[in-house]
């Protein structure tokens, strides 16, 4: 039996990688993948707790997160394609019209 803390550490590590990637990377697609990574890091902690406490709620929650993530992927990719079509770049630093 792997102790709960290992799962949580891994979960935290995945989430941290996601945050780091989100902050550092310039390519929109990479950033997008970083977001997925964060979501899955959280998912891991959900299932870990669910298994540990023998509570199904956490696992059900994960399904919800996965559904939302899938929907988000669909919408997000569509946006990325739209951005690429209008600006011909995927570098977020050049998508900066929304400022004062």
């Amino acid at each position: 039996m792997v102790p709960l803390s290992y799962y949580l550490l891994l979960s935290g590590f995945l989430f941290g990688c996601g945050v780091a990637g989100f902050l550092i990377k310039r390519n929109i697609i990479t950033i997008f993948m970083s977001i997925e990574l964060m979501l899955n890091g959280v998912n891991l902690s959900f299932v870990a707790f669910a298994a540990h406490w023998h509570a199904l709620a956490g696992q059900v929650f994960v399904f919800f997160v996965m559904v939302v993530a899938a929907a988000e992927a669909a919408v997000g990719l569509a946006i990325i394609i739209a951005v690429y079509r209008t600006r011909e770049t995927l570098n977020v630093d050049q998508v900066n019209l929304l400022k004062l």
Partner: protein
């Protein structure tokens, strides 16, 4: 049980006229406006006459409750009307004289572009004045009280394009507000201590207050505060200053509002509240002193004025002082008697003065008149009647009422009598001065001067001419009333039976405090006039002697004026030059306007400018608003750099923010342990 009189119709009729003329008058013809104005004010008068006819069959006082107004716990105020002998006299004076002045105005204002507006205001005034005199409680009276003030303001400033008229209107309104303030506080005191504003209820609660309560601070305070209100409305010291300026209004307005009716509202109110005043000797003394001093003071100013309307204005102030003197010595019915005769002769004098001004094309300066006797005979003869009446020449209205007041004043104190007598002499002098300067001697004006001093000239009339018939008829009627009006109250000493006093008797008598009736001082004590009865023989001869003295004073005034302004017209100038200090003081009205300016107006304006405007408003309120805006701008200037448009920096902020929140939560969780 009383029949339904529908008293409420009396004030409502002129209101309807005012509304119709005010809303539709602009587009309708002068003839239509005239018809509406006269029909509605005439209907009010007709109704007043009808009420008079049925008066003897009523059980008094007659009440009429129109609608509920305020119901709050046990305190109620209704739209209700009240009729007794006192209201009836006022009702007839107001609607009758008012109607005559409406007729006169048709001629006087015919060429004015604001014709419809004038009649709308005039009818509005009638509405409020009739409400005032018919009110059943102090609050309905207060509606009328404020309303006549409004109408007065509108009519004084009728020629509002003229700066002086607009300023005079404002002055009248503001000075009146000071008086109204006192009146209001008196009403609050009545509500607080008697729980009612209804005349009957208040007086019934005041009536049983015995000797120990008589003269108590409460009633004295109420009395003095009511008198403050009356001072404002009736132009008494110290609030009389608005009335002379109010002469900026059209002359019929001066006649109606500032001589015959509105300014007497204070006298009416004090007389109506006589139950309170009789139990507050100090307040009554205040009334008497204010009245006496105003009578004297205003009369002396009147001597030096050269504007025909200003002389009459100061004369009005002075005569109102007489009325208050009468009230102050407890002779309320004498005050009301003088109020009535004064309405006749002063209304007449103003209308005649208007006719003179009309004749000479808008000139108001008496120094530029003279010799008008033969040119405008109707005006001359009617004005003569008015002058004789006000001067107290025997047989005319003013003689009886003034004589009555002086006699009653003497019974209270010889000082009142002496000042009153001196005033009678001065009154006679300045009125005959006006008369001689206007109608006798040589015409001193320029031949064809249309300088339009009254803003009323400018219509192409050729030379000095008599006024149209529509103006002369009211003059004639008022002249007859000025001559005959006094015979309703011929005192016992002159073979009459003082019917006027007896008529008002049920209102004023039998209400004085019980202890005063058995006062050992008898008739010398001020508020003890209910010891009426048949007067002893010695009293009659004394009274006759006093009558003779006041007649002598009037004749002396006449003689002096004749000597100075008819025989030797150059003498007044010399006298004025030799007593230039006194003369300048009188000419400048004792510098009271200047004094008030320095004492109240300028400090107020300076205080408002320096402290309230530049201090509080600009440095605190404006500054707070501006600084808040500036501050927000400065902060935003710094913070807006967060909005770089760079997604990764946003993400960084989000991460930093969530890190902060998590840190805070951990700290709280550990700290809570």
């Amino acid at each position: 049980m009383n029949p339904m009189l529908n008293l409420w119709l009396i004030p409502i009729l002129p209101l309807a006229g005012a509304a119709i003329n005010g809303l539709l008058g602009k587009t309708s013809s002068r003839r239509a406006v005239t018809t509406i104005a006269l029909v509605f004010s005439g209907a009010a008068f007709a109704m007043a006459l009808w009420v008079t006819m049925r008066f003897s069959s009523l059980s008094l006082p007659y009440h009429e409750n129109l609608a509920h107004w305020i119901r709050s716990g046990s305190f109620t105020v209704d739209f209700a009307f009240y009729l007794d002998q006192l209201s009836l006299v006022m009702l007839l004076v107001v609607s009758g004289v008012g109607f005559l002045i409406h007729i006169y105005s048709v001629g006087y204002m015919w060429d004015d572009p604001g014709y419809y507006r004038f009649f709308s205001y005039l009818n509005l005034f009638m509405f409020f004045m009739l409400t005032l005199v018919l009110a059943d409680n102090y609050l309905v009276m207060f509606i009328g009280w404020e309303g006549v003030g409004l109408a007065s303001y509108l009519l004084i400033g009728f020629w509002f394009t003229k700066d002086s008229a607009a300023a005079a209107g404002k002055k009248a309104f503001i000075v009146n507000r000071i008086g109204d303030f006192g009146f209001l506080i008196a009403l609050f005191l009545l509500i607080k201590h008697f729980g009612s504003l209804n005349f009957d209820q208040v007086f019934q609660s005041v009536m049983p207050l015995g000797a120990e309560k008589t003269g108590s601070g409460l009633l004295t305070a109420i009395g003095i505060l009511l008198m403050v209100g009356a001072c404002g409305k009736s132009a008494q010291i110290p609030l009389y200053i608005w009335l002379p300026d109010a002469m900026e209004g059209p002359t019929p307005v001066s006649a109606l509002i500032h001589a015959a009716t509105m300014v007497t509202a204070g006298v009416y109110m004090v007389s109506r509240s006589h139950v309170i005043f009789e139990r507050a000797p100090i307040a009554l003394t205040v009334v008497a002193i204010i009245g006496t001093s105003t009578a004297f003071f205003a009369a002396t100013i009147g001597v030096a004025q050269t504007d025909i309307k200003k002389v009459l204005a100061y004369s009005t102030v002075s005569q109102l002082g007489y009325m208050f003197m009468a009230c102050g010595v407890g002779a309320f019915s004498a005050g009301i008697f003088h109020l009535m005769t004064h309405a006749f002769f002063k209304g007449l004098l103003f209308l005649a003065a208007g006719s003179v001004i009309h004749a000479v094309g808008g000139e108001q300066d008496m120094r530029k008149m003279g010799g008008l006797r033969t040119k405008i005979p109707w005006t001359f003869w009617t004005m003569t009647a008015g002058t004789l009446a006000i001067a107290g020449i025997p047989g005319l209205a003013g003689f009886f009422s003034k004589d009555e007041i002086l006699w009653r004043a003497y019974q209270a104190s010889w000082a009142y009598w002496l000042v009153g007598l001196t005033t009678a002499f001065i009154t006679s002098f300045y009125m005959f001065r006006l008369w001689f300067m206007t109608f006798f001697g040589e015409y001193r004006g320029e031949a064809q001067d249309h300088s339009a001093h009254d803003a009323h000239g400018g219509h192409g009339h050729g030379g000095i001419h008599e006024s149209p018939r529509v103006m002369v008829i009211p003059l004639a009627i008022l002249a007859v009333l000025s001559v005959m009006g006094g015979y309703v109250g011929v005192p016992g000493s002159l073979g009459g039976n003082n019917r006027f006093d007896k008529f008002l008797g049920p209102v004023f008598h039998g209400s004085a405090p019980a202890d005063a009736q058995q006062s050992p001082m008898g008739e010398k004590s001020a508020p003890a006039q209910e010891t009426e009865g048949p007067e002893p023989e010695s009293g009659v001869s004394t009274e006759l002697m006093f009558t003779a003295i006041s007649v002598a004073a009037a004749l002396l005034g006449l003689g002096l004026a004749w000597q100075l302004y008819y025989r030797n017209p150059h003498l007044p100038g010399k006298i004025a030059a030799s007593m230039s200090g006194t003369y300048q003081t009188l000419l400048h009205k004792y510098y009271v306007d200047e004094l008030y300016g320095a004492l109240f107006v300028r400090p107020l304006i300076n205080g408002s400018t320096r402290i309230l405007w530049q201090g509080v408003d600009r440095k605190i309120i404006d500054a707070a608003v501006n600084d808040a805006g500036e501050g927000a701008r400065h902060v935003s200037d710094e913070v807006r750099h967060m909005q770089s448009g760079n997604i990764r920096s946003y993400a960084g902020w989000v991460a930093a923010g969530s890190a902060l929140v998590i840190a805070f939560m951990i700290w709280m969780w550990t700290g809570a342990r």
